[in-house]
Amino acid sequence: MLGFGVDRLQADINRLLTSLFHQGVLDEQFLQLQQLQDETSPTFVYDVINIYFDESEKLLRSLRLLLMDREFSDYKKIGLHLNQLVGSSSSIGARRVRNVCVAFRSASELNNRPGCLRGLEIVEHEYHYLKNMMHELFQLEQQRLLAAGVRYPM
C-alpha cells in the first residue's frame, strides 16, 4: 500500500517531463541540470529555477516598461536584457522561451517597435506557460518525496 503513491507520482512526473520535451518546452540541458543535483545539493534544481524566475520577471517587467514608453528608443537596452534572457533560458533548458527571445531580439536589432511589442507578448506567454509547468513539476516532486518518506525501513 505504501509504495503505490510513490510509483504513481513518479509516473506522473515522467509523463509531464516527456510531454514537455515533446512540446519542445524543455530540452536536454534540463537533464544536465538535474544531474547536478545530488545528496550534497538536494534542492539545486528547485533553487536555481527559482532564481531564474526572479531574474526573468525583473527583466520582463523592465522590457514592458521600456516598450510602453511612448518616447522609447533604447533598443540597445532591450538587446542587453534579451541577451540575459536568452542565456539563462538556455542554461535551464527552456528551449521555447529561449527561441522566442531570440526572435524578439532580432526585432529589436531592426529597431522594429511593433515587432518588439509582439515579441514581448509572445515571450511573456511562453514564460508563463513554462512557469506553470515547472510549478506543477515541483508540486509532484514534493508529493513524491512526502510519499516516499512514509516508508520507514523496519
Binding site: 545530488d38 531564474y52 531574474e55 540575459q84 539563462s88 538556455s90 542554461s91
Partner: protein, 225 residues
Amino acid sequence: MVMAAEPQFHVLAVDDSLFDRKLIERLLQKASCQVTTVDSGYKALEFLGLREGVEINDPDAVSTSPVIHQEVEVNLIITDYCMPSMTGYDLLKEVKESSACKNIPVVIMSSENVPARISRCLEEGAEEFFLKPVRLADLNKLKPHMMKTKLKNQKLEEIETPSKVESGTVAAVVEPESEVEPKQIYLQVVQQEEQTVSNNKRKSVEEGLSTHRSRPRFEGITTAV
C-alpha cells in the same frame, strides 16, 4: 592520507548574474573543485591581491575581508565575458599583466558566439573560451590546465625548501584517486621532468607518490559573493 572527496583545485568564478554564479558554482563543486564566487572583475582582482579598496563606480560596494595576498592558491579563474564596468576580457588582461598572477589559467564564458571576441580572448592568453551553457564535460577539460599550475607552484615550494623532501622527489603529485586520468598526467609530468631530473629522481617519482606531497594550502575557503 587523502580522502577521495577532498577538492583538489581552487577556482575563482566571476559572473555578475546570480543565476550564472549559482550554476557555475554547482558545476565546479560537482567537478570536485573548491569554489569562490565573486560578482565583478574588481572583486576578483581584490581577491587575487591585485587591487586594494572598493569598486570605483559602486557607491554601495563594501570591501569584504582585507585583501588576501597569495595565501590562497587559485588554480583557475573562470569569468563571464559580458559584465558591467569590467568585462571578462579586461579582467583577463589585468591578470596576465600581473607578475603575481599571470600563470593562473583564465577561462572565459559567454552566451554569445562571436568569433572575433573568442580569438581576441585566446590571443590575450585565455586558456579556453566556453559557450554557455557550460557543462560538466567542459570543466573536465580544464583539469590538465589546473594541474599544470599546481605542479609549478609545488615545484617552486620544493625548490625553496629542499630539505623537506626526503627522497628528492620533484613535485610529481598525482593523487591515485584523482579524477583526472592519472596515467596521462603522470606521463606528462614524467616527460617534463626528463629535461631537468636525473634518472635517480625519476625512479623515486615512480615509487613514492602521495606520501611526500605537501598539503594544499587553501583548506576551508568559503564562497564569497
